[in-house]
Amino acid sequence: MKTVKSQFKFKGGVHPDYNKELARDKAIERMPVPAELVVSMSQHLGAPAKCVVKAGDFVKRGQVIGEKNGFISVCVRAPADGKVTAVEKRLGPAGGKADAVILDTTAKEEGAGSGEQGTPILPPLDWKTATREELLKRVEEAGICGMGGAGFPSAVKLNPPPAKRCEYLILNGAECEPYLTADFRLMLERADRIRVGVEIMRKVLGGPAVRIAIEANKPEAIAAMEKAFADIEGNVEIVVLPVLYPQGSEKHQIFATVGRVVPEPPALPIDVGCVVENVGTVAAIADAVEKGEPLLERVTTVSGDAVAEPKNVLAPSGTKYADLVAFCGGEKEQPAKVISGGTMMGFAVSTLDISTTKTTSGLLLLSRKRVFQYESGPCINCGRCVRACPMNLNPAEISKAVESDDVKSAEDAHVMTCIECGACSFGCPAYRQITQLCRRAKASIRARIAAEKAKASAAAEKEKLKSQPVLPEGATRGSK
């Protein structure tokens, strides 16, 4: 085990104000289960889980309420005991609606002595003796998905196709988003869990080298990890990354730690022999295996200058934002913007009547003076976005093309490669919504591709039905 400095620096990136001091010294605090939980069936990337309870049912903590529904999907378990009051579509933080189970945690099922504390939900496993299949199954049963943001199902990630070998397991502890300190606190306080998680994952992935990526502005976290991993065997390194946004992006982290470049979509990290997992997810895997505790709660940083007491809260997933804010002493002043996630990639929400999910890393309440307004001023071609873009695109050209409804040009300029990190908009002196324009282009390109696919399959269908040979195009030509 050794600590090394990152050898590779990717092009671009920006330096936002991190504002981590608001919550970085606040120890993780467990929040009491709120009276009402709204548990979404779509807390992860991929197909939403299929709801298997109905209004009026009583559920136990840890009971499966949504079943895995497809290959890229995870199950959802009840974060607490309670009564299902309704199953309905609710707005999620990203603006989409998904089925959600509304739980009344105050209701008690008559007769049944509610779940004795201390009894594990799933039988604990000893990772040293358990087989790879058992461990994989446990990760899947526990409903674990990437907790960094996208929520990619961990069981899928840990089980790459046989042709592809995992050479590096990269632990993402960069936490480059401003304000957020959840992963930082986790690394300080639960370093032992992370270590166990790493050993489990290493076993499942067939013994890859391990790289723990942490930004240089978290020396305490680096020290804690060094201590926890001091006596580990095998090829394990802590890689200290320079402070640069978006260091936490999967592709950039792979480059910064092992110097490999993930090709353009649809290539995945495993195509270059890497698996990247967030530190929170690793701790959750350790809990799921050793303690039999599925992923029911997570650490969320509640911060921002409009919150009375910024905190790192351990809350059941499904907790309403309003309850989180109340637990942190309420609002200090009227927030002008509420963000689910960090300031660079988080989602602005219109109401606190939205609930956390397995991927909610932060909740920020910003006052008017912390919030800026976008303008749709003209691009002055200054090139700041070109220099800032970590994907080496030309956001200026893309944004101008999209503004004049020229999505084709945007596509030619590789807009589909954009990771929407927001570095372009961050530095734009004209306050243009470059990232949003990229999103718009991507959305319309995706829609077009979907339409083309539908058309092609319809045409193929039609072709099959036609038994008559079609006259070749040239057959009508000739005579003049």
Partner: protein, 195 residues
């Protein structure tokens, strides 16, 4: 050698056909919306102008002048150039389909183009030798193509601009063309052309 260089620089930069002589403005404005099309058009113009120069020189020197018929050369040139372009179009389609796919669609556009006729006229008036004439036409066509491609790049950029309503479209293109012409005046005197 240096004489041909002078002709080249003179026809491309100093007395650019579009920006200085204002010949061929129609395709300059019409086919400059996209750089790809502009490149195709430039290729076609180079091809036709060079061929036309050769044919008209022969016509002028072997048929018209010996018969003292210089005064009908414009008429004769138009006729011959138009027929030539048509003929090239047909022949190219038959013998060089890829070339036709690249240039063919532009050929009808320049059948009676003033730039093509203009080059022939200038050659005729100067009474230069065969190779000189052909080279001059070739260089002039290169100049035309250069201006066209540069202009197309600017127009692609202008497509994302937001001019006032009354200047949209061809008006703002004309202003741009004027400013481009202004910039090209910087080349004046770069070489002293014989004509």
């Amino acid at each position: 050698m240096s004489y041909y260089l002078v002709i080249l620089v003179g026809a491309v930069l100093v007395n650019n056909f579009v920006l200085s002589r204002f010949l061929g403005c129609c395709p300059f404005l019409g086919v400059s919306k996209k750089t790809e099309t502009a490149l195709g058009m430039s290729g076609a113009v180079v091809f036709v102008m060079t061929m036309a120069a050769a044919v008209t020189w022969c016509l002028d020197h072997w048929l018209l002048r010996p018969n003292d018929l210089g005064y009908i050369h414009t008429l004769a040139f138009i006729l011959v150039i138009a027929a030539l372009v048509q003929f090239i179009d047909i022949a190219m389609k038959r013998f060089a389909p890829p070339l036709h796919a690249a240039l063919g669609i532009f050929l009808p556009l320049i059948t009676t183009n003033c730039a093509v006729l203009g080059a022939a006229e200038i050659n005729c008036k100067q009474g230069t030798g065969f190779f000189e004439s052909v080279f001059f036409s070739f260089a002039a066509a290169l100049g035309f193509g250069f201006a066209l491609v540069v202009f197309s790049g600017m127009r692609e950029k202008l497509a994302h601009a937001n001019p006032p309503r009354c200047f949209r479209g061809i008006a703002v293109a004309l202003v741009t063309g004027g400013l481009l012409s202004l910039a090209f005046m910087g080349f004046s005197g770069l070489v002293k052309l014989p004509y």
